[in-house]
Amino acid sequence: MQRFRIMWLYMAWALLLMIGAISATAWVRASGGGAARAADAVAPDPDLTPAPPAPPATRPSAGFKVSIDNFTFQPKEISVPAGATVTWVNHDDVPHTATSTGQPRAFDSRALDTDDKYSFTFKRPGVYHYFCKVHTHMTGTVIVK
């Protein structure tokens, strides 16, 4: 009887070793393919984890967004660096405009229907007040530094 018990122990141990070996192999293969796997039974080997990609260089004309929601410009006031592009998107059921108040108009989106977009690049620093031509109580400001 004791022999059988010892045999069982040996077999269980061998089985464990085999499973461990197979897992390790599979893990090494997967890591070798470039994919980092979370929740591994074995701690990841730092030499095999691919390095995260370098962050993209920030460009001054990266997009700024103004949402038109429920008859308001969100955000009502936005500060951007000179050279930046601001994009308005209309999420309302009705058309709106983003029209600068000065004359001659610095910018005028013209009619923006639902989901229409309008982009304007602000080259010169200054404070630009604007409004909606169809709903004149809707106002906003772009501050360009």
Binding site: N70, T101, F131, V134, T139
Partner: protein, 318 residues
Amino acid sequence: MSDFIENDRSTDGVDRRGFLKCMAWAGAGLVWAAKGGILQSQAFGADPAPLAGADFTFAQISDSHIGFSKGIYTDVVGTLELAVARINSLPKTPALVLHTGDLTHLSKPREFDTVAQVMRSAKAEQTFYVPGEHDYFVDDGQQYRERFGRGTMGIGWQSFDYKGVHFIGLVNVANLTNGKSALGVLGADQLQWLQKDLAALGSSTPVVVFAHVPLWTVYAEWGWGTADAAQALGHLRRFGSVTILNGHIHQIVRKIEGNVTFHTARSTAFPQPEPGKAESPGPLKNLPAEKLRQMLGLTSVNYVERSGTLAVTDSSLA
């Protein structure tokens, strides 16, 4: 319900008990007769005999917004056609139709084409238009004036006489500026013209003024008013009967001030919330589709020459 005045206790022609009964009929249509500020009412559809002496009838429709399609409001052309069919089946065929603006939704050429096409089937002799901001804000009214501006002056104003009634079409959607509590602006040129236009008229001439944005402040927070209307109303003060017909707010609101009756019409396209009852004045949300037609409508006005009264009747498209 009797259409005779039964309880005329104060002998001023107002049947207050009958008036209250008539108010219950408001949904189906109400006839209002304004004569020197005194109100008389009758249920629409009752015995038409009292109005039989009417010299002529004209209709007002408004805010057709051709090109709009959202939510349950997917057939603005269909509902405009329905309004025209109702105009054509009025007991007295209207002599003319007034469209108080927002013919189109985005001033697109094909939208204007559709309006013209549908209105051609109206039996009336002629339709007169004033633009709404939707007909104006895209290209400063160029498309609008090219197609509907014949016979108008300046930014699109006009006046004409019909059987002794003086009609004035005003444009209060040009010259928009920011941050004001009133969308409407008439401007100095138009006001100057208005003064001259009225100068030649006798004070007993009934005057009908039609313009898109209300010529009084219905709700400042949503821009429902005309900034310089006071000047226009000043020029109109001496007249014995002034009826001001507006649109823009897509619901019926009435006000009587002395000899002036203000009236706004329903839209033929979509209703808007009552002042302050929603966050913003867009198309009414959460309206069950089966209730749509009763929120849309047209207005007919009967002119009775003998008494000089103008009886304004609203009816829905239900």
